[in-house]
Amino acid sequence: MLRDITIGQYFPGKSVIHRMDPRMKLILSIAYIVMLFCVGNEAGFLIPVIFLIAAIWISKIPFIMVLKGVKPILPLIIFTAVLNIFFVTGEPLVKLGFITITVDGIIVALKMVIRIIFLIMGTSLLTYTTSPIALTDAIEQLLRPLNKIHFPVHEMAMMMTIALRFIPTLIEETDKIMSAQKARGADMESGGLMQRAKALVPILIPLFISAFRRAEELALAMECRCYRGGEGRTRMRQLHYSSLDWYGAAVMAVCFAGVILLNIFVPAFV
């Protein structure tokens, strides 16, 4: 059952979006999120919405997959929406006892919902079209200036890489340990909260011990392969911006300008 979990889902492909430089994708994703929150009037939402739908269409990732990314945070979305509907003051629309629903409330709630949903969809598209290792590389390179203030950029990226590498291994291991303890009659499915927590001990201890053992052996193997931190290190895979990336940046700039212009010249509803 644990084996079904996939983390940092990536759908390999050859689309324009897949082929873009991960650094540019990361920058554009951040710009996209900023744009979502800059939108000041209702018509302005059309721009990021169309932008994302177009991007999804170009990436050839099934639309339904992108929507699925939203599912886990649905409760949060509903919660914020309800809060906004009930607590934003303004011209009352319906009055039910002590509850008043206002037009303003509905509009604010709708904006909030659109923002969150499209934010999640946007970031999902990023992880769906960029392999975790490319993303790690991008983060490492973009954060490189932070080295100047002694922020351990390389070490952080190395940690991310190793974590990504060992997630499947440790998931498999957890599965195996669970089976082994079940074979000795461990009961993990019944009992109260305390009992269940206690039942985790025979799983967590071997798992930790094994993780430490792996870490130790891996450190030794890395040492044997001349690892000595980020200094003087080269990379086989070089990241290159191509015309594709500049094209993407230009589209984003135009969209952003559109949002700002709409903000200035078209009065908002609320």
């Binding site: 195996k176 340990i177 089976s179 082994a180 303890q181 079940k182 074979a183 000795r184 009659g185 461990a186 009961d187 001990v201 025979p202 201890i205 071997p206 011990i209 094994s210």
Partner: protein
């Protein structure tokens, strides 16, 4: 031997499967049969070797024997009871006490502070009394050759081979009717391997319980098992006595199993027209057979 055969005949199968199949990712494009239409009967008191290349389905099969995995279709009976029957399903945990399963590299599942406590984990889960647990832990430690002084040691201070024996004792202590071991000698040196296999044989002989030994080593299986179950591509390729199964030398080699050196040599000798016997897998057998031929020839013998 005759007494044993009698016993085998009168008893019902301790484990019996009927058309057992297990599909992974059923209903998706990745659907794959881990085991397919497996029907076997294991009699009480047998020592069975299970072989098959990696991915042949042998690990999946043994996890059905103790109810860790539920078949996609087919039935499995332990001691005559259909374990996934509506009324037995709730007590699936009891099946695990009856059929003890020792996983590969079992030393990685140790977790208690002392050897004693770790071995007592299984019996403790059975809800036994303190005295009963004590008896069983001591008995199990005896079987794996760990003397009393180890009881209060931390299992993490032991050597690799000792850790593994503690883990095996943890399953033996449940006094299962069937003991299944998945490659219990993986990664051990020759001495450690012989020690563990010797102890398993002792356990089998003393308790009369059924033992299933999963191994890649046909040599070990030839030395210890009475019957062999060969898995290949999710199906049972063969299930018969050691002699009969290992006579299919060529087919087994083609499956990627490693045939013992002496078997290969004897195969070559037969091919060259020498009247050596067909079923030779251990050095003992080979030696006896050559000496027999030499005697027949009337020459050499004990000079």
């Amino acid at each position: 031997m005759t007494g044993k055969e009698e016993r085998l005949r009168t008893n019902v199968a301790i484990i019996k499967t009927e058309h057992l199949s297990h599909l992974y990712s059923a209903g998706t494009p990745f659907e794959k049969a881990a085991i397919e239409d497996v029907s076997v009967e294991i009699e009480p008191g047998e020592f069975i070797g299970v072989i098959g290349h990696t991915g042949s389905g042998k690990s999946t099969l043994i996890q059905h024997f103790n109810g860790l995995l539920q078949p996609t279709s087919g039935k499995i009976y332990v001691d005559g009871k259909d374990i996934w029957d509506e009324k037995n399903k709730k007590n699936i945990r009891d099946v695990r006490f009856q059929v003890g399963l020792v996983f590969q590299y079992p030393e990685y599942q140790l977790f208690e502070e002392t050897v004693y406590k770790d071995i007592a984990f299984g019996p403790g889960n059975m809800g036994l009394s303190k005295e009963e647990i004590h008896t069983r832990v001591m008995e199990a430690m005896d079987f794996v050759g760990l003397k009393g002084k180890y009881a209060e040691k931390s299992p993490f201070d032991l050597s690799g081979g000792q850790k593994r024996r503690v883990a095996i004792a943890g399953v033996i202590a449940m006094r299962p009717k069937v003991l299944i071991l998945d490659e219990p000698t993986a990664g051990l040196d020759p001495k450690g391997r012989d020690k563990i296999l010797g102890q398993i044989r002792e356990y089998h002989q003393q308790t009369g319980s059924t033992v299933l030994l999963v191994s890649h080593s046909m040599e070990d299986i030839a030395k210890y098992a009475e019957k062999v179950l060969v898995m290949n591509h999710a199906k049972v390729f063969d299930y018969d006595t050691v002699e009969r199964v290992f006579s299919k030398n060529e087919e087994l080699t083609r499956m990627g199993l490693s045939v013992p050196q002496v078997s290969k040599v004897f195969h070559q000798l037969r091919a060259a027209g020498y009247p050596v016997s067909e079923n030779v897998y251990t050095v003992d057998q080979a030696e006896a057979d050559i000496l027999r031929l030499l005697k027949a020839k009337g020459g050499a013998g004990r000079a």
